[in-house]
């Protein structure tokens, strides 16, 4: 599996994503500077977390118009897997590759902590190594993770089995208290219609190494690896 990690000015989880990818897949991903219009030939593209362009104007807004994003879109249209984590999710929504928008957290504060997610679908190459309904522990670290879309869009996401993860409690219930940021319908991650683009606010790359306190994020990378085995 060949992977690339996009680096924007202000990206800061690019190295973390690369480290996790290398740890799980055994292969260093290529780091691609946003100013390059051309993408290397890869199977997986990670749009990493951070504060691209300082999150000024709106999180992800300026990065979404960076030269490299046209290539990322074109690659996704050809079926290349694109995974947007945190700021990467914000970039993908701003670029129109995923529906909806990520607004300021309900409590207006930045939140960094482990949250519990319920795996809503295993019908994707990102989530196939989990079981449906499984509760996993993954950290969030964001200020703008409050997922919003029109009710019709949310209904469509649900009817097409495109919600990948929802915030939940230990029993798997998607309660208001388990929702860290006010996201509609507790949505933490979604897929595009073709199911090859995933955006999620939590950081699976941060819990892929047992030394860091857990490995619930690792199956995301294992699943991708298996897809190319």
């Amino acid at each position: 599996m060949k992977a690339a990690v996009i680096v924007f000015p202000g990206s800061n989880c690019d190295r973390d994503a690369a480290t996790a990818l290398e740890l799980i897949t055994g292969r260093k991903p290529q780091m691609v500077w946003h100013g390059d219009a051309a993408l290397p030939d890869v199977d997986v593209i990670v749009v990493p977390g951070g504060f691209s362009y300082g999150d000024y104007l709106r999180s992800g807004a300026m990065a979404a118009h960076s030269p490299i994003m046209a290539s990322v879109k074109a690659a996704a249209d050809k079926g290349v897997r694109v995974m947007g984590i945190c700021n990467g999710f914000q970039v993908l929504t701003e670029a129109g590759m995923l529906p909806g928008v990520l607004m300021r957290n309900r409590d207006l504060k930045f939140i960094c902590r482990d949250v519990l997610l319920r795996v809503e679908t295993t019908a994707s190459e990102f989530t196939s190594a989990y079981t449906k309904g499984q509760v996993i522990r993954i950290p969030v670290a964001h200020h703008d993770g409050n997922y919003f879309a029109e009710p019709a869009v949310l209904d469509e996401l649900e009817s097409q089995d495109r919600v990948a993860f929802r915030y939940c409690d230990a029993a798997g219930a998607t309660t208001e208290a388990a929702n860290p940021n006010g996201s509609q319908r507790n949505i933490a991650g979604i897929l595009n219609a073709r199911r090859n683009v995933l955006g999620m606010m939590p950081h699976p790359e941060r819990l892929a190494d047992p030394l860091l306190g857990g490995t619930d994020g690792a199956p995301m990378f294992t699943a991708l690896l298996n897809a190319f085995a």
Partner: protein, 728 residues
């Protein structure tokens, strides 16, 4: 000279120069300075830049050890951590700016300390911060807490450096002067460390980073003046931080540092272009000529005075060899940062500033630096307080006392604070906030760095010698408790007005105590910062020498946290039984008495007990470990229980049960060890002459003392509940 403002005594006074200091200015120049020159003298001789009141005593602190590569005097301290790597770190205050504009004050404090570290060639890998606010019921406190915490997070999160530890305290002495002490640790290769000493006549002086505006003019002088009620009027001088530019600046500088282009580099911190250019030239024994028309500015019609004194953030000054500008410029162009050659190094020993083709300042560098005032301020020793016997302290039911301690402003969880900080970015955080010390993996290695920040101002206020010793000892103990070898400290000396002999006495005595502890524990000072005049309307803060400690572990996976890891483990207390309630949290919170002498620190015992505990951790005999500090044994055990949800059953017999449970005697730890290893640990302790005793086991979900139980969940609700309720 094109500046015709007449230099009146009033203008001199507004620049914070005393009449005798101004006489010295006249003597050095042999003429009356113009306004720009006066401004330069003013900032260079401010307390903040010159350490004029503190230098005499700071010099007494031990700064050497075989592993110290660079001690105080550079942008940050450097220690050898093996395998060709160095840890570079420093703590710095941004107290006054944070009081006036808490968000930006705290944010730019973080930005400034980050630059101190990456300017030396290190990639910043961890931030810590020590925050002290007025009493929780003071009307301004919540606003300040909210702003400072958001500012620390807003900057650190965006830059992508994890904020892994720190401390938050409340005390009425900080009502008018909160403390914001920020610390950064970076990692560099020992053969790629950059210093600020300029060299090479004819070399280019290069400005990089953000453009210069009118921000923070006179910030350095402000940080050296007492507050009065009208200080809110100083608001316009507060700088605004741009963490996005800082992130680009980090990447650009590190990219350029990988080449051989940079001769010297210095960040523009307090006093901006003035102190950076001055210090670089002064250290190199050279002169410097700057063309201020070349300085990138973002506002129109900026004067030489404003350009030299601006404290706009995210700027650096470098010296590079002629002919290498293109290499450097290409890097900064890539990162879309300003880059300008603004001058050259000369052999004149003078700083010559030009603007619009005319010389606007011409100052001798060495005389100005050497003649910087240095005061031996009068001081009086602190008044010693009587030792309070445990039998003279009311004994309250332990459960009630414990709930008050862990659920009050001082002892409650700081989760509300550190969850606003990204403490996991960079993917190396092994021990997250909330324990004794944070532990990060050194990226790409099996090694770990531990870091902590500590001070108990109530101890220091009661006895500055003992309190100074204790602050250093506690930092050492916290590093030990995670399994690290403590290597060095950075000190952030926050005090009141040094022109008052009793305040100067606190400073002198704290230095004495700290120095003793540093020597006894092989724990030298490698960097630091002094913040004086933390005083409003004559009310000074408690003396607060914040200690930032750094330790090393060869195998980071051997580190332990405070959370119990299972039931059925033996709990072993290391060190003497609790007896000392003077200045304890129990006496203060439960009995309402902030009295007596603080607990004495026996540095030999400290070292012996700590070395023993670290050895056990390294041998893998310890499941979890917590040092005993505020609140003593029972608070420590409760914190271990609350962090895990696992209970404990303790047997601690009286008399003076309150002192045994809540006494704050020093050099103590509590360990959880596998039941099967308990005998071995106790036997080892005996062999080493370390007091150790079995006090109970981990079990169930209640904390039980002598048969009486409190649910851990109930304690946790109180512990976790206080801060969110306070801020709601």
């Amino acid at each position: 000279m094109n500046q015709t403002v007449a230099i009146t005594p009033q203008i001199v006074a507004e620049h914070g120069l005393s009449p005798s200091e101004y006489d010295r200015v006249l003597a050095i120049l042999g003429r009356v300075p113009n306004l720009t020159e006066l401004g330069i003298f003013s900032v260079m001789w401010s307390e903040h830049c010159s350490y004029k009141s503190s230098k005499k005593w700071l010099k007494t602190l031990p700064t050497r050890a075989p592993w110290v590569i660079c001690g105080p005097g550079e942008n940050a301290g450097v220690i050898d951590i093996g395998d060709g790597q160095a840890a570079i770190f420093k703590m710095e205050s941004h107290n006054h700016p944070s009081f006036i504009e808490p968000y930006q004050g705290a944010a730019t404090g973080v930005g400034g300390i980050l630059r101190d570290v990456f300017t030396m060639g290190a990639r910043p890998v961890a931030n810590l911060n020590a925050l002290r606010f007025g009493s929780a019921d003071h009307p301004k406190t919540r606003h300040l807490v909210a702003g400072v915490v958001a500012g620390v997070g807003g900057y650190g999160n965006c830059v992508g450096v994890p904020t892994v530890g720190g401390e938050v305290q409340f005390h009425p002495c900080y009502n008018g002067n909160n403390l914001v002490n920020a610390m950064t640790i970076g990692i560099a290769d020992t053969d790629k460390i950059f210093y600020s000493k300029a060299s090479g006549v004819g070399n280019q002086v290069v400005y990089v980073g953000s453009k210069t505006g009118r921000d923070g003019i006179h910030g350095a002088t402000m940080a050296s003046a007492e507050f009065s009620e009208d200080s809110e009027e100083k608001r316009p001088t507060v700088q605004v931080g741009d963490p996005f530019t800082e992130k680009l600046l980090i990447e650009a500088c590190l990219e350029l540092m990988a080449t051989d282009v940079i001769v010297a580099i210095q960040d523009m911190g307090a006093a901006g272009l003035t102190s950076s250019s001055f210090e670089m030239a002064s250290k190199g024994g050279l002169g410097v000529e700057l063309d201020l028309d070349m300085v990138p500015v973002r506002e129109t019609a900026m004067t030489a005075y404003e350009i030299m004194l601006s404290e706009s953030q995210e700027r650096m000054l470098m010296v590079i060899e002629p002919g290498k500008e293109d290499i450097a410029k290409a890097v900064f162009d890539k990162w879309e940062l300003d880059f300008a050659v603004i001058g050259t190094l000369t052999d004149t020993g003078r700083m010559v500033l030009k603007k619009d083709g005319a010389v606007v300042a011409d100052l001798p560098i060495d005389p100005l630096a050497e003649a910087a005032p240095e005061y031996d301020r009068p001081w009086t020793p602190g008044v010693k307080h009587p030792v309070i016997a445990a039998s003279d302290v009311a004994e309250k039911p332990w459960a009630e006392a414990l709930k008050a301690l862990v659920g009050g402003p001082d002892g409650s969880s700081r989760r509300w604070v550190w969850e606003q900080y990204d403490h996991m970015v960079m993917g190396d955080t092994v021990q997250r906030p909330g324990g004794d010390a944070a532990v990060i993996r050194i990226h790409g290695t099996a090694k770990g760095l531990a870091a902590t920040s500590d001070c108990n101002p109530r101890y220091v206020g009661a006895d500055a010698v003992e309190g100074g010793r204790q602050a250093v000892a506690e930092a050492w103990r916290n590093l030990t408790a995670v399994g690290a070898t403590p290597l060095a400290i950075t000190d952030n000396m926050n005090f009141g007005n040094p022109q008052r002999p009793e305040i100067m006495g606190q400073f002198v005595e704290a230095c004495q105590g700290m120095g003793e502890a540093c020597i006894a524990l092989d724990f030298p000072v490698v960097s630091g910062n002094v913040s004086l005049y933390n005083e409003t309307n004559g009310q000074g803060i408690l003396p607060t020498p914040t200690i930032g400690g750094v330790g090393l572990m060869p195998h980071v996976e051997a580190s332990v946290g405070i959370a119990f890891t299972g039931t059925g483990q033996a709990l072993i207390a290391i060190g003497a039984e609790g007896s000392w309630l003077g200045r304890s949290l129990y006496l203060d919170v439960v009995c309402g008495r902030d009295e007596g002498a603080p607990p004495p620190v026996d540095l030999k015992v400290e070292r012996r007990n700590g070395d023993f505990v670290r050895g056990l951790i390294r041998e893998g005999l310890v499941e979890s470990c917590h040092d005993l500090s505020e609140g003593g044994l029972l608070v420590a055990v409760a914190e271990m229980a609350m962090a895990s949800g696992i209970g404990a059953n303790l047997t601690v017999s009286g008399p003076d049960l309150h002192a045994k449970l809540f006494g704050e005697d020093q050099a103590r730890y509590v360990l959880a060890v596998a039941e099967g290893k308990a005998a071995e640990v106790l036997a080892n302790a005996e062999k080493m002459g370390v007091p150790a005793r079995r006090i109970g086991s981990t079990t169930g979900s209640d904390l039980v003392v002598n048969g009486e139980a409190v649910a851990v969940a109930e304690l946790k609700a109180a512990h976790e509940g206080w801060f969110p309720a306070f801020m709601a």
